[in-house]
């Protein structure tokens, strides 16, 4: 691309354009950009949860002692703090995901586009039902 070449000096028929390089910290300069980057960073905590789950399965497969060790590991204050932070990020992911997916889908009924809240609304409802169901399955006596 020509555009990456250093700007030549000004001449009458060759205007000298001023190009500004995007700052490395562009995502800190505006709240909207920061919110976007936080949304993307939520995926790191999603990955952390998966790692935790894999370690848990591994612990179970190795026997009761390994599993008890894993549960002690979860009680470590640093791990607990990390999990609290992760929880906020994954909830942030869920909320933004349902809101954005309503915009990514153009569902038409009778020639009219279904408004976004009619798509995100049922998603939020399903999220609550699924969460309640999982909690019941895991916590029932």
């Amino acid at each position: 691309m020509k555009s990456s070449v250093a700007t030549p000096p000004y001449t009458l028929n060759h205007p000298r354009w001023y190009r500004k390089r995007v700052s490395t910290y562009w995502w800190l300069l505006r709240w909207e950009y920061l919110r976007f980057v936080l949304r993307e960073i939520s995926s790191v905590f999603v990955a952390w949860f998966v790692v935790l789950t894999i370690v848990q399965i591994y612990a179970v497969s190795r026997g009761p002692d390994a599993y008890a060790e894993f549960q002690d590991f979860l009680k470590n204050p640093f791990v607990l703090a990390l999990n609290v932070i992760s929880f906020f990020f994954v909830v942030f992911h869920s909320i933004t995901w349902f809101n954005l997916s309503a915009r990514a889908m153009a569902i038409r009924i009778g020639g009219k586009r279904v408004p976004g809240f009619l798509i995100s609304g049922p998603n939020f409802a399903a999220w609550l039902v699924i969460s309640a169901l999982i909690a019941w399955l895991l916590l029932r006596e």
């Binding site: 949860f49 549960q71 607990l80 995901w97």
Partner: protein
């Protein structure tokens, strides 16, 4: 004009995995993380004990569920981390390396999860 032959591209597959993983993560992960990582260690709810954990894992459907819960969100995370590194740090020249590490990590995690769940007694 870009008259490239319409070959099979990888982007649609990566995007489908990203979207599926994002959906799975949005619906299922918060409650799991809350119970496993916060409520149980703090004693707010009972922790799943070893006997019930093995009982759960004895069901093939639970193992399949856990496999999906691990693999798809990993591809979701790999996709987002890749783009965030690429845009946030402006390291476009490392594109291939970043992509290989991110998706490679997701594949590795999927294989590990699959192996553990498959070989579970």
């Amino acid at each position: 004009m870009d008259a490239q032959p319409t070959k099979l591209r990888i982007e649609p597959l990566l995007w489908l995995l990203f979207s599926a993983g994002g959906g799975v993560a949005a619906f299922f992960i918060p409650i799991h993380l809350f119970i496993l990582g916060i409520a149980a260690p703090l004693g707010l709810t009972k922790a799943t004990d070893y006997a019930s954990a093995t009982a759960f894992l004895a069901f093939p459907i639970v193992r399949f569920y856990l496999f999906v819960l691990c693999s798809l969100p990993l591809f979701h995370a790999a996709h987002r981390i890749r783009y965030t590194l690429y845009d946030g740090l402006q390291i476009k020249h490392l594109n291939e390396v970043i992509a290989a590490c991110c998706y490679g990590g997701a594949v590795l995690g999927t294989v590990i999860a699959g192996y553990l769940l498959w070989s579970f007694q």
